[in-house]
């Protein structure tokens, strides 16, 4: 996964799986929380799927509202986690 648009596709995929159909198109600025688009299970599923796709460990302590307001906010958080793990010498 290389950018926020690909992250949007992933989020869309997970929301579609949960609801069985897509009511709303997810773009980088879609408010995920205010619209009630994602519930707690969906959030945890997004985190797990992002970890699998990118091969990072997303710290539990970063699973907070500020990082899930929009796909762009989440992408920024992912980039920050990637940066931190590179600087620690982790893969």
């Amino acid at each position: 996964m290389k950018n926020a648009d690909e992250l949007c596709s992933l989020i869309q995929e997970i929301i579609d799986e949960a609801s069985g159909h897509a009511d709303e198109k997810v773009d980088p600025s879609t408010p995920l929380l205010i619209s009630g688009l994602v519930d707690s299970l969906t959030i945890m599923r997004i985190v797990a799927r992002v970890e699998q796709r990118i091969g990072i460990s997303f710290p539990e302590t970063e699973v907070v509202a500020a990082n899930f307001r929009t796909p762009t906010a989440l992408w920024d958080a992912i980039e920050a986690v990637k940066g931190a793990s590179h600087s620690e010498g982790a893969v």
């Binding site: 959030i43 945890m44 985190v47 797990a48 302590t61 970063e62 699973v63 907070v64 899930f68």
Partner: protein, 385 residues
């Protein structure tokens, strides 16, 4: 290491833990819970960085080492409630918190590894624990960044005696995924009231009770992670619990199997050894099957965690492990009860199994029925709790 080599290394670690535990248990026969806890902790089980196993137990990861330790303690005859309490703190609190807490905060808790400081996991309230977003305990942030904790937690293992609680509380009134936060709460302050121990019927060796927080002031560094990350942390503590908590049953199961086999070999009826009956043999084999399946599943979880798999990635398999071991434990105990005959109901017969505690395993750390819903949902069914 070959699979066979790994098996014998695990067996050595279990045997070595059992040997030290036997001595710790015999030194503390009849002593209270904390004395026995401390004696067993002295063997290194609760150490975050366990001594690397040497000699014949070398090469095991920290989770597998701790698992072998728990199994060994049970094999040495520690009561199931004590094994449960050790497994619950080690795997349900210490392991998930290790990557999250700074060394400074860990240090501030006191000597957890040595057994001086006892932890508890305070999530469940009178209204239940499986629907955390409905909790009412709240922590209100003050202008100076501290929090004030108010509310009540119920059915908390070790609550009557624990020193520090991992307490989940709401930091937002809304029912959103980010409404919860986790705190490390010193339970020895006057604003924390403890109930008397509940008169429970399962795992009676470890006390359970409720905690009431009457405006407990918490310094900013008592917040675990960031505000709002409580549900994510909870997902991890529960994944660890489901993967590893039932480890406490393995030692007691091995003991019961050993004594049941001895009984079937020595007891005579109809002019022959009881164990020469095919029906008896089949029950013994079913017990061995339940134990084998349970050990394989829990050790597999430990190996995956040692290999660095993220707890949330193995949450679904952890749920299956928990359901399977809990239900096998019940079936196993039923077989032992049948084979013990009337002695199964005579306390000092040496063949009296604890029928209630295995049944209780199906209700804590996520009731098996709700875990089944999780499993089915992961498979794609449109089912919700």
């Amino acid at each position: 290491m070959t699979a066979q080599g790994q098996t014998s290394v695990v067996e050595n670690a279990v045997a070595s833990a059992a040997k030290s535990a036997r001595s710790a248990l015999s030194r503390t026969t009849g002593a209270d819970f904390r004395t026995r806890w401390k004696a067993l902790a002295a063997e290194g089980l609760l150490s975050d960085a366990p001594r690397p196993p040497s000699g014949r137990a070398a090469g095991l990861g920290p989770v597998t080492t701790a698992l072998a330790g728990i199994e060994g303690i049970g094999l040495a005859g520690a009561p199931a409630g004590l094994c449960y309490a050790l497994a619950s703190q080690r795997f349900g609190i210490q392991c998930p918190l290790r990557p999250v807490l700074s060394q400074e905060v860990r240090h501030s808790l006191g000597d957890v590894a040595g057994g001086d400081v006892l932890l508890c996991h305070a999530l469940t309230e009178e209204g239940g624990g499986s629907d955390p977003l409905s909790m009412s305990t709240s922590a209100e942030r003050q202008e100076d960044g501290s929090y004030v904790l108010t509310g009540m937690k119920a059915f908390v293992t070790a609550a009557p005696i624990a020193d520090v609680g991992l307490v989940f509380a709401r930091t937002s009134a809304d029912r959103t995924p980010f409404a919860l936060s986790a705190f490390l709460v010193d339970l020895r302050v006057p604003e924390v009231k403890r109930s008397d121990p509940f008169r429970k019927t399962a795992l009676t060796e470890v006390p359970m009770g409720s905690l009431t927080f009457g405006g407990v002031r918490l310094a900013p560094d008592r917040l675990v992670g960031h505000e709002g990350s409580g549900l994510a942390l909870l997902t991890v503590t529960t994944a660890w619990e489901r993967a590893m908590l039932l480890s406490y049953a393995l030692g007691p199961m091995r003991r019961v199997l050993e004594r049941t086999v001895d009984w079937c070999k020595s007891r005579e009826h109809f002019g022959r050894k009881m164990g020469s009956s095919h029906l008896v043999a089949a029950r013994v084999a079913d017990m061995a099957l339940a134990l084998h399946r349970s050990r394989e599943l829990v050790y597999r979880m430990a190996a995956r965690l040692d290999a660095g798999e993220r707890p949330r990635q193995l949450a679904a398999d952890a749920a299956l492990t928990k359901i399977s071991v809990a239900e096998d434990y019940v079936m196993f105990t039923q077989q032992a009860t049948m084979l013990g005959g009337v002695r199964s109901f005579i306390e000092d017969s040496g063949l009296c199994p604890d029928l209630i505690s295995p049944m209780a395993a199906s209700t804590y750390a996520g009731p098996n029925d709700l875990l089944r819903v999780t499993v089915a949902r992961e498979l794609g069914l449109p089912v919700e709790n």
